[in-house]
């Protein structure tokens, strides 16, 4: 036998990267895993609904057909949840006799579109401005700080309403309709995404700027500079990964703000108009509830609650897991 005996191959030794460390901590919280699973389920539903829309085309999708048109015998349009026409009827029929189940599942698609696109919008604006301001300092920083303190000074709801209102009726709406983009993303949805993007980037920008200002003074950044790396390379390869946890956490916050705003904007008549969104179903419920028709509200409100809860909970757990100061 030769003297050296291998203790184990490299693959057997657990490599502790920050990402794995965070996942290890997240895994400890069973609730977080449960809600992560719930979020994944919602994502699959939304994906399925999107595939369904692509397959059925724009003509007359099944979520906009009444169950009578589909050949089921119902006497009234507003039918409470029933096992007839299973599974289409389990959440009841809405005021047009359409399946609440199908519409609510489509609503998940709209919620994800609004949430993901809105959060992406705000991340792109907030992250890039925050990186620029924190890294370059000087007049760039002064300008960015001025812009975000101005935007943050307008009461959020007021800015959101005013923007939505302007986008809806100005020349902009006409240009958008003519551009052909509306075939992909309806004007109402586009409005909401724009409004969310334009109003919710400030928090992230502020956080990223502060963190970048700290990180850029660290030794490894100086080392990179000594090696002659350019600003862009330092910014994107060396600084960005170290502030990216802020972006991940912010994604969950903005996602929630976006789907909640969709409900309010749609209720006020400046949001989604064509597609079946949760906001729309909740808005209709204003008149339906007083007639004792509770199931559209219960379905849409319940799913909205579950999705928001799962994102909120996972976001909280992620924040703790990604925080290197909290050692478990």
């Amino acid at each position: 036998m030769s003297g050296v005996e291998a203790v184990g191959s490299v693959s057997e030794i657990e490599v502790r990267t920050p990402g794995r460390e965070a996942w290890r901590r997240l895994r400890k919280d069973r609730f977080a895993l449960f809600f992560l699973g719930m979020f994944a389920a919602f994502f699959l539903i939304a994906l399925g609904a999107q595939v369904d829309v692509l397959l059925e085309g724009r003509g007359n999708p099944s979520y906009s057909k009444s169950l009578m048109e589909m050949g089921y015998a119902f006497e009234e349009t507003h039918h409470p949840p029933t096992f007839e026409a299973f599974p289409l009827g389990i959440l009841g029929l809405d005021w047009n006799g359409r399946s609440v189940l199908l519409r609510v599942l489509q609503g998940a698609r709209i919620a994800f579109m609004v949430g993901v696109l809105g959060a992406l919008c705000s991340i792109v604006i907030g992250m890039s401005l925050g990186l620029l301001a924190g890294f370059f300092g000087g007049w760039v920083d002064a300008l960015v700080v001025y812009v975000y303190s101005t935007v943050a000074s307008i009461p959020y709801l007021l800015l959101m309403l005013a923007l939505a209102f302007v986008l809806k009726q100005g020349d902009f709406a006409r240009i958008y309709r003519e551009s052909g983009l509306s075939g992909f993303l309806s004007l109402g949805l586009f409005n909401i995404v724009c409004v969310i993007g334009a109003t919710s980037w400030v928090t992230l920008c502020r956080l990223v700027r502060g963190e970048v200002m700290k990180v850029r003074e660290l030794d490894y950044v100086n080392a990179a500079r000594c090696l002659g790396f350019g600003n862009l390379r330092i910014l994107f390869r060396h600084i960005l990964p170290n502030v990216f946890h802020l972006v991940i956490i912010n994604f969950s916050l903005t996602f929630v703000i976006a789907i909640k705003s969709e409900v309010i904007l749609t209720f006020l008549g400046v949001g989604v108009d064509k597609e079946p969104s949760w906001g729309q179903m909740i808005a209709y419920a204003k008149n339906e509830l007083m007639q004792g028709i509770w199931w559209p509200l219960a379905s849409a409100g319940g799913l909205l609650f579950l999705l928001t809860l799962s994102v909120n909970y996972v976001g909280d757990a992620l924040r703790d897991a990604l925080d290197p100061k909290l050692k478990h």
Partner: protein, 310 residues
């Protein structure tokens, strides 16, 4: 100190100028021609021109901007397009009902969230703490619209505990405002509770708490004297920052419960494209926000000697 306040206030001026610019650009440029909006479809060209002159829209944009700043400074935004009432009177008319809703809601909410957060911070890690935090997350995950719809339907329509709709000036307001106040408290307590709990827990982790424990002070005394004293600053500043929102009101609550306040007025104005009212609200809301931000910074500096006033 006075120098600091002045500097802080002066910094608010460019922000206000920026907000005025955004508002004007938003409504006069991006939103299309306001005159066309007011006159409806197919107006006569001479009517549009006359209206442009009377609204000052024939002037170049920089001059319109100066006009708008003048309106803001004198708080004279002209008259509503809807019924020609002066905007100032609309504003003052709505202030009372809004405050009768928001002030009690704010006080009750603050009382509940502060005491509850200290309580759960005291029993941190226990089942009680975990349940409350979980309920708080659950509470903030419900859409505000769902809260309003369900509680109005259940408590007012079905159980008839509260009036569904309406308002009365004077002491009778309490009757109509009770349910909206309850909903406002439910809407805000979860968020505030989470924030105050984090603040309290952060303070509990500090060195002076360990020192206090090391010299044998009872936990209760540490919490209510030492920790609460240091938490007071972030708590007060957060409460101060929310004051402007008490004045702009909650438009959802006011629409649903028929309270003739500022939030409902703004909603009607947006529905009717009533530009003077919308512009006035944006500017007043922003000015209040900037003022109270300055106030909260100043309070921070007053209460916390560690903050250098340079």
């Amino acid at each position: 100190m006075i120098g600091y306040i002045l500097r802080r206030a002066l910094y608010g001026i460019p922000v206000l100028l920026g907000v005025a610019l955004i508002t004007l650009l938003l409504f006069h440029v991006a939103g299309g021609d306001p005159a066309a909006m007011k006159l409806g479809k197919n107006p006569r060209p001479e009517d549009v021109a006359a209206l442009h002159r009377s609204m000052g829209l024939d002037k170049p944009f920089p001059l319109q901007y100066v006009d708008f700043l003048g309106q803001t400074v004198s708080f004279d935004f002209g008259t509503s397009w809807n019924d020609n009432t002066p905007v100032r009177r609309i504003f003052l008319r709505g202030l009372g009902p809004t405050l009768s809703l928001t002030i009690p809601a704010f006080l009750i909410g603050a009382l509940i969230s502060i005491s509850l957060s200290l309580f759960v911070a005291f029993y941190r890690g226990s089942v009680l703490d975990r349940t409350t935090t979980f309920l708080a997350i659950g509470g903030i995950s419900i859409s505000s619209l769902v809260y309003i719809l369900v509680l109005q339907w259940l408590l007012a329509d079905r159980w008839k505990l509260f009036p569904i709709w309406g308002y009365e000036y004077g002491f009778g307001a309490a009757f109509f405002v009770a349910l909206p106040v309850l909903i406002w408290v439910l809407l805000t307590v979860g968020q505030d509770l989470r924030y105050f709990r984090t603040v309290a827990l952060e303070e509990i982790g500090r060195d002076y708490v360990r020192t206090a424990r090391a010299k044998g002070l009872p936990e209760r005394r540490i919490l209510f004297r030492h920790v609460l004293g240091n938490c007071a600053i972030p708590i007060i500043t957060r409460l101060v920052i929310t004051v402007p929102f008490l004045i702009t009101g909650s438009f959802l609550l006011e629409i649903f419960f028929g309270i003739p306040g500022l939030g409902g007025t703004l909603y009607t104005a947006i529905q009717n494209s009533d530009l003077p009212v919308i512009k006035a609200f944006t500017m007043v809301g922003t000015i209040l926000f900037v003022l109270f931000n300055i106030l909260s910074d100043v309070l921070y500096a007053v209460f916390d000697p560690r903050i250098r006033l340079s």
